[in-house]
C-alpha cells in the first residue's frame, strides 16, 4: 500500500518536472501515466522490482475502483456560479448535453468504421 502510493506520487512528480521543462501543454500526471506504463513494460520479469510492482498494481486498483469520489470537491464548486446557472443554466445544460451526445456518437462510429476497414472484426 505505502510502496504503491509512493510509486504513483513519484511518477506524478517526475511527470510534473518533465512538463515544466518541456514547457508543453501535456499535463504532468498524463506524462506520469505514460511513464509508469513504460517502466512496467520494461521491468517485466525483474525479480528485484517484483514487490513494488505488485503493490503498485494493488494500490492502483483500489484508487481506480473509487475514482468517482475524486470529482466531488471540484463539482461542488458549482455553488460559486449560482448566478450564471440562474440566468443561463438551461442554455449551459443544452450545450453540454448536445455537444456530449454528438461527441459520443462521432467518436464511437469512427472507432467502429476504422476497425471494420482495417479488419479488426475479422475474428468475431
Amino acid at each position: 500500500m505505502l510502496a504503491g502510493i509512493t510509486v504513483l506520487l513519484v511518477f506524478q512528480l517526475i511527470g510534473e518536472v518533465t512538463a515544466y521543462y518541456l514547457g508543453c501543454f501535456v499535463p504532468g500526471p498524463v506524462i506520469g501515466m505514460a511513464m509508469v506504463a513504460a517502466v512496467l513494460i520494461l521491468a517485466e520479469g525483474s525479480k528485484a522490482l517484483a514487490p513494488a510492482h505488485r503493490q503498485t498494481l494493488e494500490t492502483s486498483r483500489a484508487i481506480l475502483a473509487n475514482l468517482g469520489i475524486l470529482f466531488v470537491p471540484a463539482g461542488v464548486g458549482i455553488i460559486q456560479h449560482l448566478d450564471l446557472i440562474r440566468d443561463r443554466g438551461l442554455a449551459l445544460l443544452a450545450i453540454v448535453l448536445v455537444s456530449t451526445a454528438i461527441t459520443l456518437t462521432a467518436t464511437v462510429w469512427v472507432f467502429i468504421l476504422v476497425k471494420r476497414l482495417t479488419g479488426g472484426y475479422a475474428n468475431d
Binding site: 502510493i5 506520487l9 506524478q12 501543454f25 501535456v26 499535463p27 500526471p29 498524463v30 506520469g32 501515466m33 505514460a34 511513464m35 506504463a37 512496467l40 513494460i41 492502483s60 486498483r61 484508487i63 481506480l64 475502483a65 475514482l67 468517482g68 469520489i69 475524486l70 470529482f71 466531488v72 470537491p73 471540484a74 463539482g75 461542488v76 464548486g77 458549482i78 455553488i79 460559486q80 456560479h81 449560482l82 450564471l84 443561463r88 442554455a91 449551459l92 450545450i95 453540454v96 448535453l97 448536445v98 455537444s99 456530449t100 454528438i102 461527441t103 459520443l104 456518437t105 462521432a106 467518436t107 464511437v108 469512427v110 472507432f111 467502429i112 476504422v114 476497425k115 482495417t118 479488426g120
Partner: protein, 232 residues
C-alpha cells in the same frame, strides 16, 4: 453551545473531509439500490447533497475545499494509476491502434468544435466560451487550458464535472439505441467525451470499456490542448 462547536470544527479540515466521504458512501449505496440506473449517478448525488448543505448553512466553497482538497489532490495519482491497466492490456491497445487514433482526432475536434459553435450561438461572452471549450478533458487539464485562453477556471471545473455526469448518464442508453456492442469502442467514446467520470462509469459497466475509457481520457487531454487553438 452548538455555535461554539461549529466554530471549533470549522477551524480544521476534518469536518468537510469526513463529510465528503460519508456523503459519497451514502450516494454509492443509494445508486447501488437500483443497479444499472445511470440517472442515480453517485457523483451527481454527492455534489447536489453537499452543495445544498453548504448553501443552506452559509458555508463558502473555500472553507469546504480546505477539507475536500485532500480528496481532490488524489486526482493526480489516480491519473498516473491509469497507466497500470494500460500496461496490463497492452496487446488489446496495440491491436486497436488505428481505430483508436482516428477516433481520438475526430472526437477531440467534435468535442471542442461543437461546444464553441453552440456557445457562440447562444451568445455567451468569449470568456465563458473559453471556459467551456475544454470541457471534455479531465478537470486539472481543462482548468489549465481555460486559464491559458483567459477563461474562468472555476467555471471550467464545474462544467467539466457537469459534462462528465451527462456523458455517464447518456452513454449506456445512447450506445444501446445505436446497437453498438463493441465495449472497446463504447469505452473509448465515453472516456473521450466525459473524461474520468465517464471512465468511472465505464469501469462499473465493463473492464475493457474502462480500460479504453482511461486511454481516451489520457490521450484527449493532450490533443484537446492543441485542438482548442484551432477554434479560439
Amino acid at each position: 453551545m452548538t455555535e461554539g462547536l461549529w466554530v471549533y470544527l470549522s477551524a480544521s479540515p476534518l469536518l468537510w473531509l469526513a463529510g465528503t466521504l460519508v456523503v459519497w458512501l451514502a450516494a454509492t449505496h443509494i445508486a447501488g439500490l437500483v443497479p444499472g440506473n445511470a440517472l442515480l449517478n453517485p457523483i451527481m448525488l454527492s455534489v447536489i447533497a453537499i452543495a445544498a448543505v453548504l448553501y443552506f448553512s452559509g458555508v463558502d466553497y473555500d472553507a469546504y475545499f480546505e477539507g475536500a482538497q485532500f480528496i481532490h489532490f488524489l486526482l493526480g495519482p489516480a491519473t498516473v494509476a491509469l497507466g497500470i491497466p494500460l500496461y496490463e492490456k497492452l496487446s488489446l491497445v496495440r491491436s486497436n491502434l488505428l481505430p483508436l487514433l482516428s477516433a481520438l482526432v475526430v472526437g477531440s475536434l467534435t468535442a471542442v468544435g461543437s461546444t464553441v459553435f453552440l456557445a457562440d450561438l447562444f451568445g455567451f461572452t468569449p470568456a465563458v466560451v473559453a471556459s467551456l471549450a475544454p470541457k471534455s478533458t479531465t478537470a486539472a487539464v481543462a482548468m489549465a487550458i481555460s486559464s491559458g485562453l483567459k477563461g474562468d477556471p472555476a467555471l471550467t471545473a464545474a462544467v467539466v464535472v457537469l459534462t462528465g455526469i451527462c456523458g455517464a448518464i447518456i452513454v449506456t442508453p445512447l450506445m444501446n439505441a445505436m446497437r453498438i456492442k463493441d465495449y472497446s469502442a463504447r469505452g473509448f467514446a465515453v472516456g473521450l467525451a466525459s473524461h474520468g467520470i465517464g471512465t468511472a462509469r465505464a469501469y462499473s459497466v465493463d473492464p475493457v470499456a474502462g480500460l479504453f475509457s482511461g486511454i481516451a481520457m489520457g490521450l484527449n487531454a493532450v490533443v484537446t490542448a492543441l485542438v482548442v487553438h484551432l477554434f479560439l
